[in-house]
Assembly symmetry: C2
Homo-oligomer: 175 residues x 2
Amino acid sequence: MRTAAELELGVTSHIVLGLIAEAGEATPYDLKSMVANGVGDLWTVHHAQLYALAARLAEAGYLREEREHEGRRRKRYSLTDAGRRALESWLETSTDEVTELRDHALVRLFFGADPAALAPAQVEAHRRRLERYESQLRDFGSLMPRGRALALKAGTEHERVWVEFWARLASGQSP
Amino acid sequence: MRTAAELELGVTSHIVLGLIAEAGEATPYDLKSMVANGVGDLWTVHHAQLYALAARLAEAGYLREEREHEGRRRKRYSLTDAGRRALESWLETSTDEVTELRDHALVRLFFGADPAALAPAQVEAHRRRLERYESQLRDFGSLMPRGRALALKAGTEHERVWVEFWARLASGQSP
DNA sequence: TGAAGCATGTAATTTGTTACATGATTGG
DNA sequence: CCAATCATGTAACAAATTACATGCTTCA
């Protein structure tokens, strides 16, 4: 068994730690719903990943694993001290990493795809997402933790840029 | 050997096809430089991946593989008809996929990190990148293919949003 | 009561990442 | 000519994605 110090944790692992910290304890399935609930918009985590990841984190000493007694005897996970420390130190460290756009439609554009062919679906999709973010923010913004609201705020701003970008292309305007 | 029709190609594969289409032919190492030259900002592709990927695409019939005769006898790849068709049909199809932000600093924020701790490095990093994009656009914008310029344009707009976002947080302003 | 669908999970496969290694070139 | 650096590549490992299962509810 690897000790906690040896295993380098990626973003996804920290997401799991973060979610469990909030919930107190959770089964992988719970995690799945929690992801769907918010972070999922920021960073995709497939549900199948969560089982493996939680097991790995437990093995490495970041999570405590216990089996339920009723029903399916599912595994519930909670943070160990090491887990809490790992999460906290992650939250405290700054990063100058800058993520690439990683946008499917934009890569196509890059390689010469016709903007007019891509734009309508993109405008549509981004507009929808923008609306979702805005309404979440409007309806629950004041209730959610600040970080969450900030992330949503960032989300809306980027979506607005996308909508404008593709809308311009849809209407045949230059850059 | 799998036939071309069976293998589902991801974005990274299409990037390889796109780059080879431009160059006519290329070794995996050439691809590496080409990636560094532009798409890399949009979508990371590690150089180690390129060897495996090119081999896989050749095996699947999308690329023709021939060995150089001099020196290291490296493998050079060029598009087959199937490869060209795959690339073209990819370029022609629209997508309503909307990529998540996938931003390291933002996930931290989401989980409660202190904005003031993250903001300075982020402002710095995004500002640098913004400047790079802007100067590329200014200096070569009119020379590059339209799609490339558009991608850069999108990049600068997003970077601007990031800079403003983090700058506000750095100065302690609310959302 | 049985069909639909959500809850819950495992396994296989594919991709991406890191680490390492060696050959070639070149400025000092 | 030698140390540094770039070119070139392979192998091992970790993570993500897809596919497939099966149990549990629920409501027609």
